[in-house]
Amino acid sequence: MTTVALMGNPNTGKTTLFNQLTDSYAYVGNWTGVTVEKKMGSIKHTEIVVVDLPGIYSLNPITKDESVAINYLLQNDADVILNVTNANQLKRNLLLSIELLEFGKPVILALNMIDDLKRSGIYYDIKTLADKLGCVVKTTNARNHDGIEQLREEIKNVPVENLPHTNLDLNYPSEIKAEINKATKSLVDNYQISEHFASWLTIQFMNKNKVVRQYALKNDFKPLLDKADMFDKNEFEEKIFQTRLSFIEETLNEARENISSTSNVEITSKIDKVVTNPILGLPIFIAIFYLMFKLSFDWIGTPLSDQLNAFLSGPISHYSDIFLKNIGALPFLRSLIVDGIIAGVGGVLTFIPQIMVLFACISILEDSGYMARAALVTDRVMQAIGLNGKAFIPLIIGFGCNVTGIMAARTIEQPKERLITTLISPFMSCSARLPIYSLFVAAFFPKNQALIVLSIYFLGIIVALAMAKFYQLIFHVKENTVFIVELPQYHLPRFDIIWRGTWDKSKGFVRKAGTIIFAGTVLIWLLSNFGPSGFVTNIDKSFSAILGQFLLPLFVPIGITSWEAISALFTGILAKEVISSSMMVLFHTTSQTTLIATFGQLFTPISAYALLVFILLYVPCFATIGTIKSETGSTKWAVYSVFSSILIAYALSFIIFQVGSLFL
């Protein structure tokens, strides 16, 4: 079996390339920090395994996810390194390539996004690059599948033994060179490690690579440990960096060819002048989100959803009931299937059109390159209140699912800032909350559906930012890390990438309908059909009524006067979609139209809005609580997150309801 390690800077298209090489699909985004753990896949009909490692700028890790890559090199035996670079930013990308070339394993250098480079009016002579770097160089354009087949063939057909082992020997200053030779010889003689590995270890050690220094300590590499002070005192790290940089500049100057056409760069810079404008940037960002909700709720999603609902609550539930009656199903079983499963699970499934449209919009924003600009625009706002713009990326990923959002927080270097981002992530409105928003906006704000949902999303962001500021003060976070985000060139979103992104995310939602939403629906059916005295025909005597009525006095101040809503909120802990399916079951209806009419008697627009705010902010779902626990490594933070969010949700919806009631 051959193992190919896929390594490169963040946002060089590694994940896209991985998907194409391995005929598989992993989450792709046009911004940094998408891959947080290594992924593995195999090339079809071969024994070649490709490992996709998180993007890194150098082998010296700064963040938790960056250490995955260097640890992989130290602990695993990759046969080939496939170094993916952004051809447009080769000068910076090659800094990592040099470290990989020094590692000694065969390296294939893929110059990805080669079309973008050509559009910027520059090209590199591939042969010159290959000669200077001493490795195989291939050009690819993963987004258009260009060069992928050739790359796959290169990996498949050339036996690893035939690939040249790289022998890059940079012209480091003589004092460094002498020390490298001395340490390498001593390591080879006394510790039985290969010459290449020993020389690479020495350079990395001189470079103050934390993981390598720990590795040296663990293995008691005296030739390195004894010289550590000398290496540091003589600033070997800086000298190594300068030598590498000069080598890169020299190589690129030699290989550079100028070609015409700078149209894409011009277009990108023209668009950026407007969308990242200090004054216009934020309103444009808000307008884009508004348009997104307009499409999902008003223009495309809801009309489709209404038809799906009419079909499910009409023919499907009607004929299912008749069928069950004909085969002799007793009333309780019919109720479980029709009023429970079909009403609950079906009720959630009718929101698929809205969810798919929203996911498609998010995929377009990601693929076009706008999301990186959104991070830049929000960075200004965040800096104004003393926060790091980097936190925005995990937060925006949290719009899809809070769990992945929290995982993406690993890209934040400072432990305290990472903890803050983890704690505020659940306030971002994940897609699971969409069905319940959709239900309430259709009932109370039919003409302003998009605006209301937009306000809920932005309220989530505001609460998250306010809490972040609060935590910063509490934790005494003083160090202000710099936020660097690469602005990729804009490109027209590709239909297959958008479709796969949308389908991938929507598939997760459908799957949830068959598992946890189904389970939550059955649970609420049981709770609403059984009471202390056994099976009940009057729902007011059921367990769910007892629980809801017991807590009702607490919820009246925030405008919730129906015990059904309170019981439904409890099931939302399983998964937020279950809230809407529970409402269907508790109000005994399979039709959204009937449910909306019932809501009209129980809520006012202001109490409905207060309830939506409560749902936005109260307890994270099970999976999110579990992720907070595993990412912070402490139950304390998970429990804290649960209680603090209830408190914030209650306080805010109380204010909204009480103040709102004065005016409306």
Binding site: M1, Y27, M40, T521, G626
Partner: protein
């Protein structure tokens, strides 16, 4: 359909629901990717590779 069959079907549905809730609770304890219900391609391949490598 006899009462017995009715009860058996209801019990199957309820047990499946109970099992799903148990599974979610277990997955959530692990946090990370395991908490995600969707078995994406990358996750399946990682599992396959793990099995292949023993």
């Amino acid at each position: 359909m006899s009462i017995f069959t009715n009860i058996i079907i209801a019990l199957i549905i309820i047990s499946f629901a109970g099992y799903e809730i148990y599974k979610v609770a277990q997955k959530s304890k692990k946090g990370k990717c395991a908490a995600c219900d969707y078995k994406c391609e990358a996750k399946m391949m990682a599992e396959r590779a793990k099995r292949q490598n023993g």
